[in-house]
Amino acid sequence: MSIASHGRILKDYFGIVPKQDQIVIALAGNPNVGKSTVFNALTGLKQHTGNWPGKTVDNAQGSFTHRNNSFLLVDLPGTYSLLAHTVEEEVARDFICFGHPDVTVVVLDATSLERNLNLALQIMEITAKVVVGVNLIDEAEKKKITIDFPGLEKELGVPVVPMAARLDIGLKELKEKIFLVASGKIKPKPLQISYSEEVENAVQSLLPYIEQLGISKLLNPRWVALRLLDGDEKFIAKITSHLKYQNYPTILREAEVAI
């Protein structure tokens, strides 16, 4: 994808105008995990709030610098899932999918990891450039919950940072991990969920068709196959319109025939 068309998509679809060479970071997480605390702690007063274009969903953007690089942090709405039942989920999913952030940070609640990991795994199906921040470790400690962070990191295949944003713990480490993933110095290999044999067989039979469309650079083919199997027609239409927007007339013609 060309830089010009990427910039246009960010501006027209998401109302985001990064400065030159600014690294775009998406901040995702369940509701009530302290995501806004992380956002405020990282960006301080350098914030801009508004709405997502055409949506009654708040959009907060802020910037920070780390190792002489400027980062634009985009706070996504808090969601349990990305399978778009609500406008919030739609906004979060579309930004991660089509906004192509350089890194997506997923903030998890250390006191209920089980429920929170659902969202992390969904995001890791879309993009490999993920950093997981496990927030509220102070709360977890009070509840006598111990977390095996090296084990979690090894199993997830992406950097995991223990955090208590309220107490300014882990933020420096988070910035460093964001920087390392954005600059390609760390290349995460996120855990991919294996589904039942029937689903996996269906994915395998769809993949050659999806790869022919030449969209592999824009979207993860396996993820597109899973959404096709979901039969989510609204989302398939959205993929088509985004491809149209990115000026890929041949791909589009083929996509329309295939879908």
Partner: protein
Amino acid sequence: MDKSKQVVPLSQLAVGHTAQIVGLELKGLLRRRVQDLGLIPGTTVECIRRGPTGDPTAYAVRGTTVALRKEDANLINVYPI
């Protein structure tokens, strides 16, 4: 012990009692939503309290409280423990 004979809808679970989810009969988006909140087969659920008219009911699931309508809890099969 044959578990299948004791399976009841979640809506029948009395306040203060705990059960394990056996299966979901919910369909479509609601099924997905309930799964996203962590209610899947094997999950332990505790009935916390019921609304003044007997609906909705609050359940403790994976460290969080979620409220479900009776009609939806009817379609979640559980095995009381």
